[in-house]
Symmetry: C2
Subunit: 161 residues, 2 copies
């Protein structure tokens, strides 16, 4: 498993992963109808850095890192992680999250925040907790899940110091 | 006191208010060095709607309203309010917050969220609580205050339903 910075060319492999996850509408606060062009902007252009996970020559995971708030909040970064459905349970999310924390420290960030974790995404919540993130906020019914309806969204946070 | 939608021409009056507040770096997570052109984009172009408060023909307050998260989070809006220093204590923030809640309901939003309230901004925290917002999150040391150093930032939330 290799984690490296993404290039524009990698988007051919990133797009199917992004599209499957976002169209499902169960975990990310992006429009489920986000098209390829918008996704390229969201995932590769807006963030400060984007990475891919390559397993046996295939891109099976990806994450971005960006500054979460400007000015007085700019010492805290934000990341988003995506794993291809065929690669779930292989430890890619853990590897990406640990990698992103190292990158964040190298870039001078002092904390990492996840702004909007669907509480129904229990696997993710447990994984982030295992990796040192705390639930620091609960947004009542802020996530409109396609089958469960309104569920709480969680804010998770880790000081990297 | 009249609250009406802002026009591009109003930015001559909005800019000094924005600049004074943002340059101080005590309350908003914008770069304190934000210039006029960037401020115009942040305050008038990116948001869904922007309003001004006119008192005796002068613009003394302004707020924006936007969707806080896309897709599964798009039923929650976000607002930011600014009052000119010479107009503090005149009830403009209360008037704007109440106005924004009405506008939000008219636009179909079901909740309003403030993502990043500096805990040191006690007047604002108390006012939002008085107006029905709850503290639903506390981000440890997420706000770098120019004189107090790292202070917690609060997430505040109100269901409008």
């Amino acid at each position: 498993m290799i984690i490296r910075e993404a290039t524009e060319q990698d988007f051919d492999a990133i797009w199917p992963i992004f599209h499957e996850i976002v169209a499902a509408g169960e975990t990310y606060a992006y429009d489920p109808n986000t098209n390829r062009e918008e996704a390229l902007k969201i995932w590769l252009h807006v963030p400060r850095q984007t990475f891919v996970v390559v397993v046996d020559g295939r891109i099976l995971g990806t994450y971005y890192l960006k500054t979460n708030q400007a000015g007085p909040g700019s010492h805290v970064c934000n990341c988003g992680y995506m794993v291809a459905s065929q690669a779930r349970g292989m430890g890619l999310a853990t590897a990406m999250c640990e990698h992103s924390q190292k990158v964040a420290v190298e870039l001078g960030y002092q904390a990492m925040q996840f702004n909007f974790v669907a509480s129904s995404n229990e696997g993710a919540v447990q994984l982030w907790q295992k990796l040192g993130f705390e639930i620091v906020g609960r947004l009542p019914q802020a996530f409109n899940h396609p089958s469960k309806g309104f569920v709480d969204a969680l804010v998770m946070y880790k000081w990297l110091g």
